[in-house]
Symmetry: C2
Subunit: 282 residues, 2 copies
């Protein structure tokens, strides 16, 4: 990757448009593809891309050295299976998908031999979507995770890491797709499941006035994109169900201890949680 590298962003939603803006501002030639004409016009009008289209053609796609997919996972897989002949020979493909195993192996399996896919996950979401909500500041201090497989070259891994640095991420890590998916299932997907379940417990409108920070903190992420998340859950189902069971087990252990007036167990769990939580203080 060098200053001459031409970068194509497929999908100009919140993340895709933020990538485009940051890369364009950093001096790269940036192209954009969106399903919507209005999004392409806006991206061109606001000068976050140098060229853009709604048409997927070899002529357009074939001019780019790096192609970043910023679309939902199923659409990503579908796009590659239908249009991979459009990629320039030697192009590097990367993505922003929040689940890895179910995407990486499938894409690498089907991909042309003269094109390489290196998977990455920028851990920088917002509770809103679309080009109008783009924001390059969300990358600052955030994690950018590259998840190579045995099929990846050193060059591709280095390029993905460099892309993360150019985008301004605070920490770049390289881990396996499997480690990534377990970690995401526990830290992100499980916590979203908890927040959603908590909000679904009861019509809590009458409780708003009494709500302190605890409930607000636990349910902030209950404001969730219902189109994207079910797909991410489904594509990391095995890991997520495992983490959910783990949580259910601990929650039920605490519940049983409270029911049995087993103060010692309740206390021990609190000591453990307080001790472990200390590491997470920023």
């Amino acid at each position: 990757m060098n200053k001459e590298s031409k970068i194509l962003i497929v999908g100009l939603g919140m993340i895709g448009a933020s990538y485009a803006e940051k890369l364009h501002d950093s001096g790269y030639f940036v192209g954009g593809i969106s399903a919507r004409e209005s999004t392409v016009s806006k991206a061109l009008g606001e000068k976050i891309i140098d060229c853009g289209t709604t048409d997927i053609t070899k002529e357009f796609v074939g001019q780019f050295d790096i192609v970043v997919f910023a679309v939902y996972p199923k659409l990503f897989i579908d796009w590659v299976s239908r249009h991979q002949e459009c990629f320039k020979s030697g192009a590097l493909i990367t993505d922003v998908t929040g689940v890895k195993c179910s995407v990486v192996y499938q894409i690498q399996e089907m991909l042309r031999d003269d094109v390489e896919f290196i998977a990455a996950h920028p851990m920088a979401g917002r509770e809103c979507s679309g080009i109008d909500n783009r924001c390059t500041k969300v990358f600052e201090g955030a994690n950018y995770i590259v998840t190579p497989t045995k099929k990846n070259t050193r060059t591709a891994i280095d390029t993905a890491c460099e892309l993360g640095r150019i985008l301004g991420f605070g920490r770049i890590s390289v881990i396996s797709p499997e480690e990534h998916d377990e970690m995401i299932a526990f830290l992100s997907q499980l916590t979203h499941c908890i927040a959603v379940s908590l909000m679904c417990c009861k019509d809590s409108a009458h409780l708003v006035d009494f709500t302190g920070d605890s409930f607000r903190d636990l349910t902030r992420i209950a404001n969730i994109n219902e189109n994207m998340w079910p797909e991410l859950f489904a594509m990391n189902k095995t890991q997520l169900l495992e983490q959910m069971s783990l949580f259910e087990k601990e929650f039920s252990r605490l519940k049983e201890a409270i029911a049995a007036d087993d103060t010692e167990t309740v206390k021990q769990m609190m000591i453990t949680s307080t001790e472990r939580r200390k590491l997470f203080n920023k």
Copy 2:
């Protein structure tokens, strides 16, 4: 309650000392009782009380018109049962306890006829304890809840509300002990149980570097006082277990939907949670 009212704070921990400081600064004559000599000395030295002692005598306690108990619930009940002869005739007793039904009725039942107990709960905690962590700012914008029973007089309810206003609370509410306990079980105790269980799931030290805001938000309250909370859980056990079961049911509904690839249910739960959460945006 008027400017001449003498106020005694029993227990000079984080909340008790904050009460003392705010009331003293507001011009009231404030007394303090603590089990520790060093705490009394500090409270006197830092001028948050006008007089203080570790000895519970009729001579000392009997001079106060209002007595605020800022101690753990069991100690509060024990104190009243052993020392209620010390109260001045006509005194008004109030508290800061986070559970109500298991405290209010017991205290009112045993209390002398010439003394009235009006229960109150200042919803303003911190993750730290002790006189050194006192902070009158935590009351600003916070909820102060008065939970009268049929035994309480209008005057006592009004005085408790006035005390909340003098302390600087943002919102003063009057609800029944039963409504209070259900609300606290759901909004506060259940959320603490979730946070504790989540931290107990696994030794997550290796995940610190990948942790985003969701996990941090959900576990902030996992840093918990293991001496106070088991007592509060035990004293609101029926309500808490009910709210825990409600949550378990919703969590398991979500889990089963994910396991069965029932995207429609997952999506519907997310729509419900997003819709309900909007009310809680500050």
